[in-house]
């Protein structure tokens, strides 16, 4: 493990009044650690932490914890994503303990996509725990120093516990309450599904504030660029729970074909600026699978460039 993270940790950034920025790196399908190192290094200095996904979309990739260690080694603090899809409660608790022992300071706990649409649809879906129960399990391990079985942990882990929520999926009236369940179970920060519909996100945030949840949990709005019209169609029809209003398509179709990617980045930067104006939003979580190298430019356009970084980026 060479460099330590150059920025304040995610925990201290969230505690501060400053805008928090997290991003996401999907591990490769292959045994080359360079892929993660390269993607993570492009983000170093720009983000407070980088999520390492857990075989995202139920496609087999290098593991979440191995990816997190590679991110640590590349100098960016990881947020290890853990899904309930592939592991029962024994394996989940074991992996969570391992993450703590390996110095992974943040975990993000979620249900996960069903294997049916992954690259192994013949796999057994596990779902021994659900996401709320997994958050609860992690909190019990950390704060009570116990496993679900009641056995003592010595010493207990100390990670920051995160969760996810989709403000746009039905039932609309239950989505803020569902975040409330995760917070009651122990979630300290939440990253949302991609925000393309800012007014709908603002309505959800109003409910979050009404329940007093923003005082108990930091909210990071999920954002990301649409890179092409094909990507737009793919995201609309293949990504579960993703809501992209028609205006986004109108804008992307309204520019010459060569400028669609740039327009997508412009939209993303605008959305970042808009969500950061909403009371209770602590920051953004930028997702650009396969385009991690473009994230600094999006952040710079949104006015989130940080002093002392970015000089080595080509714009």
């Amino acid at each position: 493990m060479s460099a330590s993270p150059p920025r304040p940790s995610l925990r201290s950034r969230l505690e501060s009044a400053q805008t928090t920025v997290t991003s996401e790196v999907g591990p490769p399908r292959g045994a080359d650690p360079e892929v993660i190192r390269r993607k993570v290094e492009a983000l170093r200095g720009w983000v407070d932490a980088v999520n390492i996904t857990d075989s995202q979309s139920a496609h087999v990739r290098l593991s979440n914890w191995a990816g997190s260690i590679l991110a640590l080694a590349a100098g960016v603090e990881p947020v290890m994503q853990v899904t309930c899809r592939d592991r029962n409660r024994i394996a989940l608790q074991s992996d969570l303990l391992s993450a703590a022992a390996l110095g992974i300071p943040n975990v993000l706990l979620m249900t996960g996509d069903h294997p049916r649409f992954g690259d192994h649809p013949d796999a057994k879906p596990v779902f021994d725990l659900d996401s709320v129960q997994l958050v609860w399990t992690a909190r019990t391990m950390r704060d009570e120093g116990r496993l679900l079985s009641g056995r003592k942990l010595d010493p207990p882990p100390s990670w920051l516990i995160g969760a996810v929520e989709n403000p746009f999926a039905p039932p609309a009236g239950f989505r803020a309450a569902r975040l409330g369940k995760k917070i009651a179970a122990g979630a300290e920060f939440v990253q949302t599904q991609f925000v393309f519909d800012v007014p709908a996100f603002a309505r959800w945030m109003a409910e979050v504030r009404e329940l007093g949840l923003d005082a108990r949990c930091k909210v990071l709005a999920g954002v990301g660029p649409v890179r092409s019209l094909r990507a737009l169609e793919y995201m609309r029809s293949n990504v579960p729970g993703l809501w992209i209003p028609d205006e986004v398509g109108h804008r992307l179709r309204g520019v010459p074909p060569g400028r669609v990617a740039d327009e997508g980045m412009a939209i993303c930067a605008e959305i970042i600026q808009q969500v950061l104006q909403i009371p209770g939003v602590s920051g953004v979580h930028v997702m650009a699978p396969g385009f991690e190298r473009g994230i600094p430019e999006i952040l710079a356009r949104a006015g989130l460039a940080r002093a002392g970084v970015g000089s080595d980026h080509a714009y």
Binding site: D130, S131, P171, G212
Partner: protein, 181 residues
């Protein structure tokens, strides 16, 4: 097996698919008190557990009835009374604490888009009957050894008591100091 729709009985051996309850929610809400544990039911539970044959006949009857009405898969830890009498164990991810983030804008299940999310059923039925607060309860992990058991017997015997947290641990709104991140 009912492959086309989300309504009615299915093999409990098949992997879960959302089932739209056949019974309108007002009926079980109205009669749920009839099954509440009491001395008589506890004696009945002990009598049933005293003989493997009696228990099996009783559990098979429970399965038949609840599978027909709710798509029951006999997890043995029934949560129907606090999920609007729509069974979360028919969710392909078997979520006990509410819907996943993959519900389509049209209310379709992420895994079986031709079927409606069972948690939408649960939320609507609970809200329609003034029971929305039930959905805020934190549902503990189930005991996977309970599959095939009679949840009625477990209920009468008090083995179900810890299924969901009550009190402060379940409050989505609380007055404790703000969480220190």
């Amino acid at each position: 097996m009912n492959a086309a729709g989300g309504r009615g009985a299915r093999s409990i051996a098949a992997w879960p698919r959302p089932v739209r309850p056949r019974l309108p929610a007002w009926l079980p809400y109205r009669i749920q008190g009839l099954l509440a544990p009491n001395g008589g039911y506890r004696r009945l539970a002990r009598w049933l557990e005293g003989s493997r044959a009696r228990y099996r006949i009783f559990a098979a009857t429970e399965q038949k009835v609840k599978n027909e009405l709710f798509g029951c898969r006999m997890c043995g830890q029934c949560t129907l009374p606090v999920t609007g009498y729509a069974c979360p164990m028919t969710c392909p991810k078997q979520l006990r604490n509410g819907p996943c983030g993959g519900v389509g804008q049209d209310g379709s299940c992420e895994v079986y888009p031709e079927l409606r999310c069972v948690w939408l059923e649960a939320c609507e039925r609970a809200e329609d009957h003034g029971r929305a607060a039930d959905l805020h309860l934190l549902q503990r992990p189930i005991d996977q050894r309970g599959w095939g058991q009679s949840s009625w017997v477990n209920y009468w015997d008090g083995r179900d008591d810890g299924l969901w947290a009550t009190g402060a641990a379940s409050a989505i709104r609380d007055d404790r100091p703000a969480a220190q991140v």
